[in-house]
Subunit: 341 residues, 2 copies
């Protein structure tokens, strides 16, 4: 409205309403002990000047910002991007803003540096969407020095976190294959430095062992369809027999299926495949993909809940919430018949 439009401050409002800045502050923050008349007069002035409190000044004065930091890794992939999206939704629902940063790799250095950078931004808490295992860094929760929660970190670690029981998911998948009669079950894993990939890999191994089966051939991919394709080709070149494949995510499964088809191996007639994640496209693959569903929505929601709880009680013992994935049966698994692979 005014020409140069310097934003109105508490004092401007106070002056216009003929009260002190403090009274305005009381009105804004809904304190009792302000007369009804004054209140309306102040509110009027606020409206007239289009006043909104400066969050930076508030933050400086209160030392809290109603903002949390989110650090993401690999967020162009389906899983991480879902997690970030749902964390954002959860935070907004609780009236928190978020400052966001990604990290190019999971080295301690990079992570610490990014955390430090966010910390002097004055955030009230931190969500780490960094599927880093081992927690050598995170043991140093005294380094973070801030309420935080990790998503998708290693199961069983002594760190506030929400995880999906990937090991269990892998077991569901592999058991399903075993029940269909498969004995030679290969694997294409995700990058094993991702904790989730590692856990799925371990689950695959463990389930085979429990069933008295030898570990099948395994290759490591990089989450993408292209890498799944390459991994499958490497697997085929090894000329180890397999009638089923457990693949670390759905995109790689897609690539793998193509590689198989190029060798005239049809899914599921010749090779059964189960993926992981249940991306929205999986039901429309050719064939529709049997896979393991992870519930990213509640994951994000729970992470936010947990973080807020920790912000209230920062000294409570660390607590890990575990979510269980679910097998989604579609058409990429068939009972083992007379098959030559």
């Amino acid at each position: 409205m005014t020409e140069k439009h310097r934003r109105a401050t508490l004092h401007d409002v106070a002056q216009l309403a003929g009260v002190s800045h403090q009274t305005v502050s009381r009105v804004v923050n809904g304190h009792r002990s302000v007369a009804a008349v004054t209140r309306t007069r102040v509110l009027e002035a606020i409206r007239e000047l289009d006043y909104a409190p400066n969050r930076v000044a508030q933050s400086l004065a209160t030392r809290r910002s109603r903002t949390v930091g989110v650090i993401g890794y690999g967020t162009t992939h389906y899983g991480p991007s879902q997690m970030v999206a749902h964390v954002e939704a959860g935070l907004k629902a609780q009236g928190y803003g978020l400052v966001y940063a990604t990290v190019p790799d999971l080295s301690d250095d990079v992570l610490r540096q990014q955390i430090a950078a966010l910390r002097n931004q004055l955030i009230d808490g931190l969500v780490l969407v960094t599927p880093v295992g081992g927690g050598h860094l995170m043991q140093a929760s005294d380094f973070i020095r801030l309420p935080f929660v990790m998503i998708d970190s290693m199961l069983g670690e002594h760190v506030p976190s929400v995880v999906i029981h990937q090991h269990h998911g892998a077991r569901l998948a592999v058991r399903h294959l075993i029940e269909a009669g498969h004995r030679a079950i290969g694997e294409i894993s995700g990058p094993l430095d991702w904790s989730g990939a590692k856990q799925r890999h371990d689950g695959w191994l463990a389930t085979l062992a429990e069933a008295g089966l030898a570990p099948g051939a395994s290759e490591e991919g990089a989450w993408t369809a292209a890498s799944g394709y390459q991994a499958a080709r490497r697997l085929l070149e090894r000329r180890e027999r397999f009638t089923a494949l457990f693949v670390g995510n759905d995109q790689m499964a897609l690539g793998a299926i193509r590689a198989l088809r190029e060798r005239s191996l049809r899914v599921p007639e010749h090779v059964s495949v189960v993926g992981f994640d249940d991306i929205p496209e999986a039901a429309y693959f050719e064939p529709p993909l049997t896979t393991v569903r992870q519930d990213f929505a509640t994951l994000g929601q729970q992470a936010v809940d947990l973080l807020l709880a920790r912000m209230d009680a920062p000294d409570a013992p660390p607590h890990q919430r575990v979510l269980y994935p679910q097998l989604i049966e579609r058409a990429s698994v068939a009972p083992l018949a007379a098959v030559t692979s």
Copy 2:
């Protein structure tokens, strides 16, 4: 190091180094005019106290935050999530932080409210990853009252923005089909309130008209594979003949291909399909999908460049940068032969 670990301030450093707070500030901000001896003494104190400037206080004092706001819409979809990711990368490269918010719909109200919310967070600029057309809101760039750029807004609008020439992309796709001999070219569009979807739709119509062809049947989807599947079924029920399909994105194309297959229509033998986006999986679809590639990486990069330029010169006339998409030929288009659809 100390027990309760109040973070060190400028004054703490000053005291330890035996200089004034102002001198410390000079050292921190790399001002000249501070003697070498003093500088090293101060740096030492900084290291000892593990001091890092409080960005909030800095922001308050300077009225700038080296932070930009990003508002996203539909960021669980491939395109938007890519744009956000690349904007984030570009900002970080320039030393800017980002505060992030999504918006549940594109109504003026919601958008204005979100913008206002970010504005009192003290951001230096704003990136709108909101494919809103019409710009009724954005005409009100004086509402935003902040340097900003829109990504993927309507082509030709008088607003600082970076856009991909979707119309051109659609033309590439449809021409390709026409050159393959197709005359009955149907469409599955994205949600037409997305400006990109609208532009692709218009491009489809225009290209057909230029070639003297009647507009084919068209159905609207919602970007997902499931919606593409449904749209294709509706299209088939209409019993209008088509030998080719232009689909608004790759996921919907995937769904459409499945719907076709369920009717025993094979791609590309019976129906040719071209998608849009070139998601990383498209090359691994069955059949590998011919599609139109959008370069989201340079899109994000350019958006950041443009924003920084506008932050330097906020009163420069608005400027739109246009990127051109590219046809990627794979295996989902075949020349029209003797076909009965």
